[in-house]
Structure formats: structure tokens, C-alpha cells
């Protein structure tokens, strides 16, 4: 087969690689050469040369050669994707060949070639492990030149469904079957299946067992949140019949907001935007895949949530992405457990994954956060969110009997099988797997373009995305009230050899299912053809109430929808939360807190994320009116992003998030309450309207089969209820991921109990929004809200290795504070406003000053404060519901009237001298730092 190698003439990327090897592996390599090899099937060498010259190499900057280059005195590494893992670039290359009229069997295999001088065999192996991911890639290593690769023959596995003996199995074998088959079902559930097929008088097929396991998985069924729980709440016994319904759903009901359109039942929550449009919002986690393959995991995590929005209602056009990550410290120096990637590598991979998918989709990534904590070492958390806009007044989604089941988008392969059940298991050294997927953003973009056109022409009755569980989940849910007949052999496959259950369960990316009435199928397929996206009818919706699946004429499944969706035995669970015995630390008071402030500013959680944000396109679609980076130099930390989704209207949406896992160790209730308060603060500080704000929850917990882990979850959910009602901000959707643990050699690392709150607010006029950077010399600086001795779980205590006890709480006055401040902002009375959170007043003032390129003079004695009188407590307390506001003197009176009844105080003013000067309680300066020094520290805290 002809092989072409393309090498850049300049060696920028090789230099960068050399630097990375030195930094990350401590290997000082000699000269490095990087290139790309293309192996093209079914064409002559001459033609390959022509293609190389015209398509593969940009000859001004690249050169090509035929065959394998010999790299003298170098170790050669060649990395390519494993068979069955479809690389987008290989598809694009094949498309280019078709364009040139080279049709037929021509296929392209792409691999990355790296030749490194000055290293030994052992180092070459280490570099190979660093550069490639053995789960999805092969890396071949050789000295100077690699041998030709032998072509392996295609594996042609059984094409038929197998029967699974279950009706006579003893309990221990049922459990064995569940574990070995990656079904993640417990004994009770296995017995329910056994009983069901016992009644039917036959054994199930593998397709049926897999379908049930997927449908009943924690991932799809949210068993924990929907179960009955006996809760020991620090000694008080409570019975909860359905955690989800009694907390989150109940709160939304109590807020009774008229602008709620669809909550909790669709792929995303939907709220009203204006008379003609609604907005959908959803945040998903993609934790396990990101731990194994950070790039692919983040890629497909974002791809998945975009499809959620695309499949919400009759389909929404994505208008923004948000991304929040939790990692272990990038400076981690100890030995890593087996199979765990270094946190820095995970961070880089995840950022690149989000960047490459979001940017290619043409969706601005406008909001996010990165939280660092040592216990995310084994299980990093990756939250990806998308909001979309859609016309209102479309018919409700409902697949009708007779509608065709149409698969559109990418093809089906063996990638990502068992994702739904896998995410319900705990990671360990042996986690491998097929559970990793590869994203192809352009495939999804083409599908999106086609779908929106078909939606506007009314060509389908229902739509949903193929996420976890693939066809099984998508079709199973869409047909829950009708029935469906599916012919699996009609699905377009990436390659031959898939077993029926693999086709049915495959989680290949970029696929959606639409219900198209037969009379509209022609027009639907025509649109797909124009938009270059594949679509195929693989069956139809029926009236039988049965899920009937065929493959090459063989009936491979016949399941009643009733049993499939309602047959799961719900077990009663026990949950315990015991108030931990904690105390406040004794920390020596200092005269000057300048250094402490700098240490806080350089904490990776607080430090600038500019190098990450700049890699994301936050301008595409031209609607980002408040950007993630704000201020005089476009580099200040904006509190929330504002998007104007319609080019001809000033209406907008504000998005923000809140997350503070450090509080969990004191009390998960106040952790959750604080996350909601933080999300609301960020919104309000920018101009968000608290009367039209909706929330999403994302719970990421360790293994909740442990009652001591389930207890905190219950408490956090109860806080969600209470604070949602207090703030009158309804939840509209959410997600839980309840098995974020890693075990190795008998040791388990569980993530801190983490709740991400994402908030979205619809505002009338984006022109009333403000930013957090100081605007003008001589303006007053106010602290809005009371400061308490609440440093438990604060970053200040963390610097001292302490946790403390006084966790920030949320008080009843909070809702009023938000409302009044929103009114003041929308009346133009506030010049800049910043939410006060990690690092307290000190960090908030510093950020406002250096973002606005102005100084501040402030007096701690003026702060409204309750507690032990100490400078550090006032500077670094993380009490909730507080803001810093910059007010012009002429507006002061109006501001005070607007804020009547809310605790606040003018604590200082903005100055031309570019310093942050804070006087302590004894009138002496306790901070006096140049804003440039502070900014430099903040900008250098988190290195790429």
C-alpha cells in the first residue's frame, strides 16, 4: 500500500514536544522530528504522489516523501488509532479522495510519527506511554526505522444473538453474570429478570439482557434519587419516599414560575425566552471516560450535552457552552496509582478536548471554573453544559405509531459499548475499555444543520439523542408508550462484524433518533443529503407495547415496554449523616496580610484561567456581550457571561455557576446552599434577573451504596430544596454521577461530595449589564451583605492546612439582597460589581482593582461584621450573599434607597494610585500592595 510521510519544514511542534518531555517526564531529548504518515489503500504509488503534492502537503511549509523515512540515531514512535476507533481526520481524508474522483476501496490510515535523538530504549517506552493512550491507540516503537506493519485480518465475530441461561442460576452465579458481563445490576434486579423470564418460560437473549441492564442502570434510571430512603440525619430519623421528587421536583413546584416550559422530563430543561422563543439548558458529566482518555472523554462529553440540547423539545440551536472541571493539583509529585494519568496531563487533555469540539461546533464557550483538590486524583470531574434557543409554539414531541425510526448522523461501531453501565461502576486498575468514545465535531455540526432545517419544515414528530445506551436507550424511551419494531441490520455500520447487541448498545457518537412520518421521509432524507449527513430508517413505531428487535430475519429481542420501564425492583436504602466533630483552628494573627493575599491569588482554583479561556472560541455567533474575560486589559475574571442569542434583539441570557466542594467535609447541606448562593451571586453581579432564573444540579459523589456517603447526598438535596424555594429559583434539569471512586491496591480514593449549580437567567436588556472591573477614580466601594466569622472550608484555612467548623450559611435575607441589588444595577446605579467568594473581601477587592487598572483604599473597620474581631477573619471570611459594588458619588443616595434594609457599608474608594491599601481594625495598614504585583501573582498561579 502506498505510504506518504509529511514533515513540517519548521520544527515548532517538535520544539514544544521537547519542552513538554523535559517538564513532564524529565527527559532531555536531542533533536526531535514529528510528522504524519498516510497509508492509502487501493491506489497506485504515482497517484499517491499526486495526492501528496496536491492535498496532503502544504508545500510551502511541509515536505513529503514516499515510504518510510529512516531516522538516523533516533528512536521512532508511530502512533495510530486502534482498529474500530474511527479517527475524524481519516474520514476527511477519504472525503478528499472521493472529491478527486478516487472512489471505491480507497481508505486512508493516518498515523503520527515522532523520531527522537539522544534517548535510550527505556525512555522511548516512557515517551510512548506519555504520547499515546493504550486504550484507543497503538504505539509502535523501533530504532531508526519501523518494520512494515502486517495487515491483520478483520475479526468476524458471531453475527447472531445468543441465548443467556438465567432462569436456573443460583444467586452467586447471577451476581457473577452481572459483574462479568459489565451489567452493573444488583442481586435483586437480577432476580427480577430471572423471575420475568421464568414466567415467560424461556431464556433471554443477550440483546434482551443488555437492554434491561442499560435501561435499569443508575445512569439512566437514577435509582438512588428515586428510591425510598431511611435517613439518620445526625440522630434524627427521617423517611424519604422519593428523594428526587421530595426535594428538587417539589421545590420547582413550589416556585410555580409561569415561564417554566418543560422541567425534568426532556433531555434538557426548557424555559421561556420571549414571546417567540424558548431556551433549553443542560449540564452533563463525563467523568469516567475523561479519567481514562481526557481528550476523547471531554470531547464526547461536550458532544453529548450538545445533542441533549439539540434533542430537547423539537430541537434547539446551541448558543453557548459552559465547562467546569475538578482535578487534583497539577503540581502532584507523589507516585501515581496504576492506570491513573497525571493531573496535569488530564487537565491539558480535557481543555484540548473541550476546545476542539466546542470550537468546531461553532458554539461559544463562555463560562466555567476549574477546582483543584487532592481527592480528584483518581476520578477527575468534567462537567459540560450547553444552552440552546428554539422557536416556541412547536407541537409537543410524540412519536406516533407508523412513524419511521430514523437514525441520523454518524455510523455505528463498537466504540463506547457499556458506557451507561460502566459509569455506574467504580474505576479500578483493570478498567479498560470499549467504554471510551471518539468525537467527530464536524459530523455533529452537519447533523445539527440538517436537523434545524427539518425541524422548521415540521418533518418529524419526535427526536432524541443517542447517548448512554445508544439505540437501546433512545428508541426504548421514545417508544415507551407505543412500541417499536427495529431491524438492526439496516443500521449503517462503521465496519462489519458487530454482534446484534453491540449494534443495539453502541454509544458511537454524533447520532440522533428521529420519528419521521412515512409521507415526509423523502424530504427529510433529501435535506440530510444536501447537508452531507447520513440518515437511515431502521424500523417503525408500533402500537404493540412491545420492543421487537430483528437482525437478518432473526428475532433477537421481544420485551414488554411495561417490564422494561417499570419492572425494576426499587430497594429501600439507608443513609446516615453524622455531624463531624470539628473545631475552629488557632491561627496566629499577623500584622500584614499582603503575602497571604498573594498566596490566595496564586491558588490554582482562584488564579487566572486565561490560558484556558483563550483556547476556547467565545466570540463565535457574535452574541457574547459580556465575555468571560473583562476589564481594561480584557483579562479580568468576569462573574457571569451574557449572551444575546438573537442578532436583532437586546434580550439576553446570563449564565453562571457555583461550586465549593471544600464545604462538604463540614456540612453537605451548607455546601449545596453555598453553591446555589454563589451561582446566584455571579448572575446578579452581572445583571441577571433573580425573578427569571432557573437552576441545574449536577451531583458527583463517591459510591452511594455506602450509607455514610448517601447521607450527605440526602442533606445536599434537602438544601437544594430549601434554597431553591427561598430564592424562588426553580430547578429545571440535572444529573447525578454517583460512583466517582478509584480503587487501587485495596485503597479507595473518593471524590469530595461535589455539587455543581449552573444558573441561567433571562434578561430584558443586555445594555443594563455591568462587569466587575473598577471604572473610575473617586468612586465609593461598598460591601453589600453581612460578613460573619465563617471561614470553615475557606481557602484561607486551607492555606494553613485547616478545615475549621464555621461553614458559611445562607440566611433568609439573601433573596431580598439579590432582588434589591438587581434593581439597583438595572437602574444604572452600580458601576461595577463583583461577587465575594473564594478568598473573601481581600481577593474580591484585588481582582476588581487590577482588572480595572485602578487602586483601592479601604478600611476593614467599616465592614458590617459579626464575630471575633480579627483582620484575617474580615479579609478572608467566605460568608455568602456578599458583593463588592463600585458606586459613583452622585448615585450614592439612589443606591442607598434602592438597597434599603440590606446590610451594607461604604468601606473605601477607588484611587489613581495603583495600589490596594487596606487598613485593619487598629487603623494600621494590613495590606498595601501594587495592583500590578497582585495581578502578576494571580496570572502565574496556574501554568499550562
Amino acid at each position: 500500500m502506498p505510504r506518504i510521510e509529511v514533515y513540517p519544514r519548521e520544527m515548532h511542534s517538535a520544539e514544544r514536544l521537547g519542552q513538554a518531555l523535559l517538564e513532564d517526564l524529565g527527559i532531555k531529548a536531542g533533536k526531535i522530528k514529528t510528522g504524519t504518515a498516510y497509508t492509502i489503500k487501493g491506489i497506485s504509488v504515482e497517484l499517491a504522489g499526486e495526492i501528496a503534492a496536491n492535498v496532503l502537503a502544504d508545500q510551502l511549509v511541509q515536505e513529503y516523501r514516499h515510504g518510510r523515512a529512516r531516522h538516523p540515531a533516533s528512536w521512532v514512535l508511530e502512533i495510530s488509532y486502534k482498529k474500530g476507533v474511527q479517527e475524524p481526520a481519516e474520514l476527511s481524508a477519504a472525503k478528499a479522495l472521493r472529491q478527486l474522483g478516487i472512489a471505491g476501496e480507497a481508505g486512508v490510515k493516518i498515523s503520527a510519527v515522532t523520531a527522537i535523538e539522544g534517548i535510550n530504549a527505556e525512555q522511548a517506552k516512557r515517551i510512548a506511554a506519555y504520547l499515546s493512550n493504550s486504550i484507543i491507540q497503538d504505539c509502535r516503537i523501533g530504532y531508526e526505522k519501523l518494520d512494515e506493519e502486517e495487515e491483520t485480518s478483520h475479526e468476524n465475530a458471531a453475527h447472531r444473538a445468543e441465548t443467556v441461561q438465567i432462569t436456573t442460576l443460583k444467586d452467586e452465579y447471577l451476581l457473577k453474570l452481572s459483574k462479568e458481563g459489565l451489567l452493573s445490576l444488583n442481586l435483586e434486579e437480577m432476580k427480577a429478570i430471572q423471575k420475568h423470564f421464568g414466567h415467560l418460560g424461556r431464556e433471554p437473549t443477550d440483546v434482551e439482557i443488555e437492554t434491561i441492564a442499560q435501561t435499569w442502570s443508575e445512569h439512566c434510571k437514577h435509582k438512588t434519587f428515586n428510591s425510598e430512603i431511611e435517613f439518620d440525619n445526625d440522630g434524627r430519623q427521617e423517611t424519604i419516599e422519593n428523594l428526587f421528587k421530595e426535594t428538587i421536583v417539589a421545590a420547582t413546584g413550589k416556585t410555580a414560575k409561569p415561564w417554566l416550559i418543560s422541567v425534568f422530563k426532556d433531555n434538557a430543561g426548557i424555559i421561556k425566552f420571549d414571546e417567540a422563543h424558548n431556551v433549553a439548558f443542560k449540564v452533563e458529566t463525563h467523568n469516567h471516560p475523561s479519567a481514562l482518555d481526557p481528550y476523547g472523554g471531554a470531547n464526547t462529553g461536550l458532544g453529548g450535552v450538545i445533542r441533549d440540547v439539540l434533542g430537547a423539545g423539537m430541537g434547539a440551536k446551541p448558543i453557548l457552552n459552559t465547562d467546569i472541571f475538578c482535578f487534583a493539583s497539577p503540581d502532584f509529585k507523589d507516585e501515581l496509582p496504576e492506570r491513573i494519568l497525571h493531573p496535569k496531563r488530564i487537565m491539558r487533555g480535557v481543555v484540548a478536548g473541550v476546545r476542539d469540539y466546542g470550537n468546531r461546533m461553532g458554539i461559544p464557550t463562555v463560562n466555567g471554573a476549574i477546582v483543584f483538590h487532592k481527592d480528584y486524583l483518581g476520578a477527575p470531574l468534567v462537567f459540560c453544559g450547553t444552552a440552546g434557543i428554539m422557536p416556541s409554539g412547536l407541537p409537543g414531541k410524540k412519536a406516533m405509531p407508523g412513524d419511521l425510526i430514523v437514525v441520523m448522523g454518524g455510523r455505528t461501531g463498537r466504540d463506547g459499548i457499556h458506557g451507561a453501565t460502566f459509569s455506574s461502576a467504580i474505576l479500578d486498575e483493570s478498567s479498560s475499555s470499549s467504554a471510551v468514545q471518539i468525537g467527530n465535531a464536524i459530523e455533529e455540526k452537519k447533523m445539527l444543520d440538517a436537523l434545524l432545517i427539518a425541524r422548521d419544515k415540521g418533518l418529524y414528530n419526535s427526536i432524541t439523542d443517542c447517548g448512554a445506551g445508544g439505540f437501546s436507550s433512545a428508541i426504548g424511551e421514545m417508544a415507551a408508550e407505543t412500541g417499536a419494531r427495529v431491524e438492526l441490520d439496516r443500521a449503517r455500520l462503521k465496519y462489519e462484524g458487530l454482534r446484534p447487541w453491540e449494534i443495539w448498545l453502541s454509544e458511537s457518537q454524533e447520532r440522533m433518533i428521529v420519528a419521521v412520518p412515512p409521507e415526509k421521509i423523502r424530504e427529510f432524507l433529501e435535506i440530510c443529503a444536501t447537508e452531507d449527513t447520513e440518515a437511515t430508517a431502521i424500523g417503525e413505531f408500533t402500537t404493540t407495547g412491545q420492543l421487537e428487535i430483528y437482525h437478518n430475519g432473526q428475532k433477537v429481542a421481544g420485551l414488554g415496554m411495561e417490564f422494561l420501564h417499570k419492572g425494576i425492583p426499587m430497594s429501600k436504602r439507608k443513609a446516615v449523616w453524622k455531624k463531624p466533630k470539628l473545631s475552629e483552628p488557632l491561627i496566629k494573627e499577623e500584622e500584614n496580610y499582603g503575602e497571604t493575599l498573594k498566596r490566595l491569588l496564586s491558588h490554582p482554583t482562584i488564579a487566572s484561567k486565561e490560558w484556558v479561556i483563550r483556547q476556547y472560541d467565545h466570540e463565535v455567533q457574535a452574541g457574547t456581550v459580556i465575555k468571560p474575560l473583562v476589564g481594561a486589559e480584557n483579562d479580568g475574571p468576569g462573574d457571569a457571561a451574557v449572551i444575546k442569542p438573537l442578532l436583532n434583539s437586546h434580550k439576553g441570557v446570563v449564565v453562571a455557576n457555583g461550586i465549593n466542594p471544600l464545604y462538604s467535609q463540614i456540612d453537605p447541606y451548607w455546601m449545596a446552599a453555598s453553591a446555589i448562593d454563589e451561582a446566584a451571586r455571579n448572575l446578579v453581579a452581572t445583571g441577571g434577573n433573580t425573578e427569571h432564573t432557573a437552576l441545574l444540579d449536577n451531583f458527583c459523589w463517591g459510591s452511594v451504596s455506602d450509607e455514610a456517603k448517601l447521607g450527605p447526598l440526602v442533606r445536599a438535596a434537602q438544601a437544594c430544596h430549601d434554597i431553591s424555594v427561598l430564592f424562588q429559583m426553580p430547578f429545571i434539569s440535572g444529573k447525578d454521577s454517583l460512583h466517582n471512586e478509584f480503587s487501587s491496591k485495596g485503597k479507595t480514593i473518593s471524590v469530595p461530595d461535589t455539587l455543581l449549580i449552573s444558573a441561567i437567567s433571562v434578561i430584558e436588556d443586555i445594555r443594563k449589564c455591568i462587569t466587575m472591573d473598577l471604572k473610575k477614580v473617586g468612586n465609593r466601594i461598598y460591601v453589600v451583605g453581612m460578613t460573619y466569622d465563617e471561614l470553615g472550608g475557606s481557602h484561607y484555612y486551607e492555606l494553613h492546612g485547616e478545615t475549621g467548623k464555621n461553614v458559611p450559611t445562607v440566611r433568609a435575607t439573601a433573596a431580598d439582597t439579590f432582588k434589591k441589588l438587581h434593581d439597583a444595577i438595572s437602574h444604572g446605579l452600580v458601576k461595577s460589581c463583583h461577587d465575594c467568594s473564594e478568598g473573601g473581601i481581600a481577593v474580591a477587592l484585588a481582582e476588581m482593582a487590577f482588572s480595572g487598572d485602578l487602586g483601592i483604599k479601604a478600611d476593614l473597620g467599616k465592614v458590617q461584621y459579626e464575630g471575633t474581631l480579627r483582620n484575617d477573619k474580615i479579609l478572608f471570611s467566605q460568608s455568602n450573599t456578599r458583593f463588592m459594588a463600585e458606586i459613583e458619588r452622585e448615585a450614592e443616595e439612589g443606591f442607598l434607597i434602592a438597597m434599603d434594609g440590606i446590610p451594607l457599608a461604604a468601606i473605601g474608594e477607588t484611587t489613581a494610585e495603583k495600589r490596594l491599601v487596606i487598613h485593619g481594625l487598629n487603623q494600621k495598614e494590613t495590606v498595601n500592595e501594587s495592583i500590578y504585583d497582585l495581578k502578576k501573582t494571580w496570572k502565574e498561579g496556574l501554568k499550562p
Binding site: 515548532h12 511542534s13 492535498v55 502544504d58 508545500q59 510551502l60 511549509v61 475524524p88 481526520a89 474520514l91 476527511s92 481524508a93 472525503k95 478528499a96 472529491q99 478527486l100 474522483g101 484540548a352 476546545r355 470550537n359 468546531r360 461546533m361 461553532g362 465535531a441 464536524i442 455540526k445 452537519k446 444543520d449 443529503a529 444536501t530 447537508e531 452531507d532 479561556i613 483563550r614 483556547q615 476556547y616 472560541d617 467565545h618 466570540e619 463565535v620 455567533q621 457574535a622 456581550v625 459580556i626 474575560l629 473583562v630 476589564g631 481594561a632 480584557n634 444575546k644 442578532l647 436583532n648 437586546h650 443586555i766 445594555r767 449589564c769 462587569t771 472591573d773 471604572k775 480595572g852
Partner: protein, 261 residues
């Protein structure tokens, strides 16, 4: 009378498809500039359902055609060269306006409608990755697109925007006034320093035209700054309502309309 003005309105086509993604805001900018607009998928042009010849302006907007696989713009350029060469060639020969922004610029360089074909190219940023940031450019050439423009502040959002060319090509570009915009600092001084020159382009080149001056390509995004509220500092600076980028689209439309008269 109204029908009369309508007839004199320039018709602008915005290309769509295969991962281009700035089509909506590009169309919006053209509308604000006064054009009658239409979006067309490349397959609709290939199948002859929509004709390039019916328009006076064609814009290939930003995006990631074919995911930038094999190099930004390469595959879409190949597609245009294989399936639409004649239509595009005639369109350009007749002096109509063909513009490419960001990915569109990359496509036009790789089709050869702008200096390309092994004499010039757009390649990886010096930073090695995608970057989104606001930068200044100053008008350099005389021509349709830069008319009445001194300096514009606008975003770049790309990973492969470094313009490089052979010495001979650079000489010709300068001699023929084909360099339309160059990166500069906030005071208007041309600057090769990062991040003023965000990608390392030779001679700080941000935009070029063909020799005749009717084909235009630029890496920054003028359609992203047609209103003051798209400016990153509108909450702190006094700015006019109209964004500076709109002028480039006005120039295209005015030129096309003059030709119609």
C-alpha cells in the same frame, strides 16, 4: 420607487456547509450593510440549485470546514476547485466580490483565488494552538475593502492564521497594494510582537486581496464587531453604537451597488 431601490440592492451569498459556522453573523453584517442576502450550502451550488452568478458578493465565512483536517481550508478548497472552479473563476473574472473571513481566507488561499499555490499559505499560529483575543489592525492598501478605514479593533479566533509567503510573493503583494490590513498595537504602530501580531504572520499581514483587488481574505472577524455591545469593553468605554467592523461590509456592498448602477 421602492421596487427600484430594491433592484439596486446588492445580492450577497454566504456559503454554508461542512463545518463553516460564522454564516449567521456574516449574513447579519451584510444585511446591516444594506445587502439582500442568502445562505447557500456548497452542495446547493454544486447541484446548481443556487447560482453564484445571481449574486454580486460571495462570502466564505469562518468556521472549521472539514474540521481543519489535513490543514485548515484544504478540503473545502479542493471541493471548490474540483466541482465549482468555473463558476468561481467567472465570478471573480467579472470583478464581483469574493471574500473569505478566517476559514474562508484559508480556503481562498488554498484554492489559489488569493496568493497561494506554494507561493503563500496560512499555517499554524506560533503559539501552536487556537486563540481567541481582540487585536488591532490598520488599513494598509488602497482598495475596495479598506476605503475610509484607518484602524479596527476586532477579534481573531483561529489556530492556523500565520500568513507566510515567498519573498517574491511578498514583494509583489506590497508593490500591488494587495496587503489590505496589518496587525498593529493600540496606537496604530505596526508590530510583530505577540500578542499584537497574534499568530506570527510575516510582515504582520492580517488581510490580502488578489491582484485585481476584488478577492479579499482576512483572518480577524469584522462581522463580530458590528455593534458596540460586541466590544469587550463597552461597559467601561464611550463607544459609538455601530461597531468598527461593519465598515468593511459596507464597503463591499457599496462597491457592488456602484457596479450595479
Amino acid at each position: 420607487m421602492e421596487g427600484g431601490t430594491e433592484a439596486l440592492k446588492a445580492k450577497a451569498l454566504v456559503l454554508r456547509g461542512a463545518g463553516l459556522n460564522c454564516n449567521d453573523e456574516t449574513e447579519h453584517a451584510l444585511q446591516l450593510a444594506g445587502a439582500n442576502t442568502q445562505q447557500a450550502h456548497i452542495n446547493e451550488l454544486i447541484r446548481g440549485r443556487i447560482k453564484l452568478a445571481d449574486c454580486q458578493i460571495a462570502v466564505i465565512p469562518g468556521g472549521f470546514s472539514y474540521g481543519d483536517d489535513l490543514g485548515a481550508g484544504r478540503i473545502l478548497a479542493l471541493q471548490i476547485k474540483q466541482a465549482l472552479k468555473r463558476e468561481f473563476q467567472e465570478f471573480v473574472d467579472e470583478g464581483r466580490i469574493l471574500a473569505g473571513i478566517c476559514n474562508g481566507f484559508q480556503v481562498l488561499v488554498k484554492t489559489g483565488f488569493l496568493p497561494g499555490n506554494c507561493t503563500a499559505t496560512l499555517t499554524d499560529n506560533n503559539s501552536g494552538h487556537f486563540e481567541d483575543r481582540w487585536i488591532h489592525i490598520k488599513a494598509a492598501g488602497r482598495g475596495i475593502f479598506t476605503k475610509g478605514i484607518e484602524k479596527i479593533y476586532l477579534p481573531v479566533n483561529h489556530g492556523e492564521g500565520r500568513f507566510i509567503a515567498e519573498e517574491e510573493t511578498l514583494r509583489k503583494l506590497n508593490k500591488n497594494s494587495q496587503i489590505a490590513f496589518r496587525y498593529c498595537d493600540r496606537d496604530g504602530n505596526e508590530s510583530p510582537e505577540y500578542p499584537h501580531n497574534p499568530n506570527g504572520s510575516m510582515q504582520n499581514i492580517a488581510a490580502v486581496t488578489n491582484e485585481k483587488g476584488n478577492v479579499f481574505g482576512m483572518m480577524p472577524h469584522p462581522e463580530k464587531i458590528v455593534s458596540k455591545y460586541q466590544h469587550p469593553r463597552w461597559t467601561r468605554e464611550e463607544l459609538p453604537e455601530e461597531g468598527q467592523g461593519l465598515k468593511i461590509y459596507r464597503n463591499m456592498v457599496e462597491h457592488a451597488e456602484e457596479r450595479l448602477v
